[in-house]
């Protein structure tokens, strides 16, 4: 009855960048990521999943995590050379897709899931947060995330029942390869990618948001505190920064509120192309990623064809209705 | 206490003399601080830092983690950047935990940097057996330190010398180890109230004599003095010299004495083999060979770790009787 194996993509670099200082957070250590994978696997096994595919990361996190299940499970790495960059996650996404994974558990923050979606646009995801900025992945206990993934992988719950494609921003850059953002795409006045962090509101020029969440952190919150837009709504929001409009006091990064001058706010429909021009740096989901040279053009476009994010609560509710974890007592003490 | 006009000596125990010396350094030098394990809240495991936290506050009297390498390193770094740290190494036996900081950093930094660094750091530490603390809390390892160019090493035996050594060490702009003795903590002695220095590198002729020289340091000074009294019965008029400072060593005072007495013995608590006494003996034969009427004798601990048992430890550490016996043997009495 299995639909396909469960993919695991853990980003060893998540939760360690310079935003940790601003966020007053300590480092998210890889031993804990390893433990999270183990708990997720336990959850998936409880739902009778036995097949796993994984991204062989430079830190060996997933391999180390799976080692203890060697006799009970079948797991294989997807063939992808580890480079220690975000490219690993993107390549792994392609590999996991080719391997026919029914669902993928990602460990990371917004940046990790973005890199994953670059390789597999509408990937079925159970994102577990181990990053610094987390709008996309939900805070969910890994055991339950694993159980939800297991239910999908075994077919106990159909993906279509608990997930629909998310909105994303497709980014075209003149003479260069395309890119993608899950939550927000921002043009900044900065000149370097540097430490990637987006910590200076004065540098923001323009932002396109797939959702504007007042209770989230990041550029999405700027819009969210003016005109909330949910993931369910079909439109997105375009913010142009500058004097003449409102000043919003927003948490632009974890642990960091700043005043942001917003000149204008406008709803944006799917398919609408927004042209921007360099010089500047494009930041996606809170991290500076691409440099635009002077005069170089780029286009931002909202689409609803992004990753299908599994609603873990709904998944477990359906499992409960269907009695997946329930059996009749034989009257004797009885182990699973 | 610095303002006191009297230098009248009072009787203080060794431990109180240590405290007074540190206290007067803290009063005198605004960049001085004390750091070590249990020195602040607890006042030191021997009570030698008692009251200092209350008087000087936690900025200047600092409890550290049990991290000897870290503490000594902290002292080296702070000294190189303008402070005058007094670092406590609770037991001398813990030198092994921080020997790199002592031997490769503290001792050599000034030389390696061509004189560009100045390291006014004082390290206080406790040596000595006698309290059944066994092999890792009873050693006398002064020879380890004396072998390192760049360090000064003092080993005061009396309350007077303890206070004066600490003040002299803290005023010196070199790394100075002041090796104290844990068996002597209650030893009473006259100690002037005002600050004073026991000059570094100057030996003290504690007991003048005419026909036999004993060089003894640390707690062995007191045993040697008792032995000297005993030897009087055999017509031996012993001169007892306490070098107080082992590095730099006051060779002149010892040689002058030997030239007068023609016979010499060195007494220390450390293991005799390759102990600091070997260096003194070598210097005597080099510089006063023609004056010697007997081989230079040495008394020290046997070549063994310090034992624990009350049945063994007294047989390990030299005492007045064993010193007198060895003196008689070497003098042919």
């Amino acid at each position: 009855m299995a639909i396909g194996p469960i993919g695991i993509a853990a980003n060893p670099a998540s939760g360690k960048d310079v935003r940790r200082l601003v966020a007053r957070a300590s480092v998210f250590d890889n031993q804990e990521k390893c433990a999270i994978i183990r708990r997720a696997v336990v959850g998936a096994m409880a739902a009778s999943a036995r097949e796993f595919r994984f991204l062989p990361d430079t830190h060996g996190i997933t391999e180390a995590a799976l080692e203890e299940f060697a006799t009970e499970l079948h797991f294989e790495p997807v063939d992808s050379p580890a480079t220690g960059s975000a490219l690993d996650t993107t390549r792994a996404a392609r590999g996991l897709k080719e391997a026919g994974c029914a669902v993928v558990i990602t460990l990371g923050g917004d940046g990790t899931n973005r890199a994953f979606a670059l390789g597999w646009h509408d990937a079925p995801l159970v994102p577990v947060s181990t990053g610094t900025n987390n709008v996309f992945p939900r805070f969910v206990e890994a055991t339950i995330a694993g159980a939800a993934a297991g239910l999908i992988a075994t077919g106990a719950v159909a993906l279509e029942e608990v997930a629909k494609p998310t909105k994303v921003i497709c980014v075209e850059i003149e003479d260069e390869k395309d890119d993608l953002a899950l939550i927000d795409a921002v043009l900044t006045r900065q000149r370097f990618v540097g430490s990637r962090a987006l910590l200076d509101a004065d540098q923001l020029q323009l932002a396109l948001l797939t959702r504007a969440e007042p209770s989230a952190v990041g550029v999405t919150a700027i819009g969210g505190l003016i005109q909330p837009v949910s993931e369910d709504a079909d439109h997105g929001l375009l913010l142009k920064m500058g004097e003449g409009g409102d000043i919003v006091y927003a948490p632009i990064a974890p642990g960091l509120y700043q005043d942001v001058s917003v000149r204008s706010v406008a709803a944006v429909s799917p398919g609408e192309r927004i042209e921007i021009r360099g010089p500047g740096v494009l930041a996606f989901d809170g991290e500076r990623e691409r440099i635009l040279k002077p005069g170089q053009k780029a286009w931002l476009r909202l689409e609803r064809n992004g990753p299908r994010v599994v609603d873990t609560q709904r998944t477990l509710e359906l499992a409960a209705c269907r009695g997946v974890f329930r059996r009749k007592s034989t009257g004797e003490t009885d182990a699973h | 206490m610095a303002e006191a006009q009297t230098t009248e000596a009072r009787t203080l125990p060794y431990v109180a003399a240590i405290t007074e010396g540190i206290r007067q350094v803290l009063l005198e030098q605004e960049n001085a601080f004390v750091a070590g394990e249990d020195v602040a809240g607890a006042g030191g495991v021997y009570g030698s830092f008692k009251g200092l936290l209350a008087e000087f506050g936690e900025r200047r009297v600092i409890d550290t983690p049990i991290s000897e390498a870290g503490i000594i390193g902290l002292g080296v770094g702070a000294a190189a950047t303008g402070c005058r740290p007094i670092i406590d190494l609770m037991f001398m036996d813990f030198l092994g935990e921080c020997m790199d900081e002592v031997a490769n950093q503290m001792a050599k930094m000034r030389f390696m940097f061509g004189g560009a660094a100045q390291l006014p750091i004082t390290v206080l530490t406790m040596a000595g057996a006698g309290l059944n603390l066994a092999a890792q809390h009873s050693q006398s390892l002064e020879a380890w330190l004396c072998h390192l160019p760049g360090l000064k090493v003092m080993m005061p035996a009396t309350p007077y010398d303890a206070k004066g050594s600490i003040i002299a060490a803290a005023r010196d702009s070199n790394p100075v180890f002041v090796i104290l003795n844990k068996m002597s903590l209650g030893l009473p002695g006259e100690v002037p109230e005002d600050p004073y220095e026991v000059p570094i590198g100057v030996a003290n002729i504690v007991r003048p004599g005419t026909n036999f020289t004993i060089v003894a340091f640390g707690r062995m000074l007191h045993e040697a003095l008792t032995a000297a009294e005993d030897l009087k019965a055999d017509g031996i008029d012993t001169e007892v010299i306490d070098p107080i400072t082992l590095q730099p060593f006051d060779t002149d005072t010892v040689i002058d004495s030997v030239k007068k007495t023609h016979r010499a013995m060195i007494v220390h608590e450390a293991v005799r083999f390759a102990g600091f006494g070997a260096e003194i003996a070598a210097q005597i034969q080099e510089l006063a060979f023609d004056y010697l009427d007997a081989p230079v004798a040495r008394v020290g601990a046997p070549f063994s770790p310090v034992p624990f048992s009350p049945g063994l430890e007294p047989h390990y550490v030299p005492n007045a009787k064993t010193i007198a016996a060895e003196a008689r043997r070497t003098l042919g009495l």
Partner: protein, 325 residues
Amino acid sequence: MTSQPNDDTLRDMHRRMVRIRHFEETAGKMMEDGKIPGALHLYVGQEAIAAGIMVHLADTDQITSTHRGHGHLIAKGGDFNRMYAELFGKATGYCKGKGGSMHICDMDLGMLGANGIVGAGPPIAVGAAFANKFKDNGAVAVTFFGDGASNEGSVHEAANMAGLFKLPIVMVCENNGYGEYTAQKNHQAIVDVADRAAGYGMPGVVVDGMDVVAVYEAAGEAIDRARSGGGPTLLECKTYRYYDHVGVRGMGLSYRTDEEVMEWKKRDPIDLFEARLSEQDIMSKDDMAAVHETVKGELDVAIQFANDSPMPDPSTLLDDVYYVA
């Protein structure tokens, strides 16, 4: 909040990196030609770290270095003449010929010495940071150590004390993937040394050590935090040592592949930075070439100075063992 580097800062960092690169390339060649006595540990490949950090520091801020220390001194403002004189063992050197490469220092610049003992720097930097806090002088100490050194007890002790006393210090791990000749995977169970930060009660940050702007930004945050009383940070910079542990070709041991070296060289910190500077019209190719030429000229002068300088007089052998008032 550290702002982005302005054009002057960018040019300053470029110059510091170029100074290190040419100094080291020249020194490595001279060592292997037998013109420099003893052993040199070259910093080539790691320039972005020293430059991106040191540009934030004043002479009153202190650093402790490692056996691979030339780059740190150069980035802190070290004088080529006195450096080369020291490498040659001359009387005019930084240490009057007493220290050489592994103990090169400049106390006036707050450079508290390269160090021949792996892991010895952090406790000393903790002492400097302690003195800064004691004197309330607003200065920051930065200690550099490698992935290899991170396994030394002295580094743990120092880090613990830095966290405990909330000292103004940044602990910079230059993770070049090798402890001498042993790959990281064979010398520790973790890949990110920054993972240990939580155990010391401080934040840990990982940054791309081949990208000088990334280092600049992360170091700026950490240094500001230290300076304003926020306490220490463990800043791990991922980098690579182009040459051998010692020298250029060094001992000729086979412990890594040429492919691996080539792979890292594709992300050469100076090449990467120069491409960006040029793209952004901050420096033209000619501007950059002029920097290289000027630095080479300064090196020629320094080597001449070192050559012309006298050996230390044997009578100075015992000088500076002790301070004499």
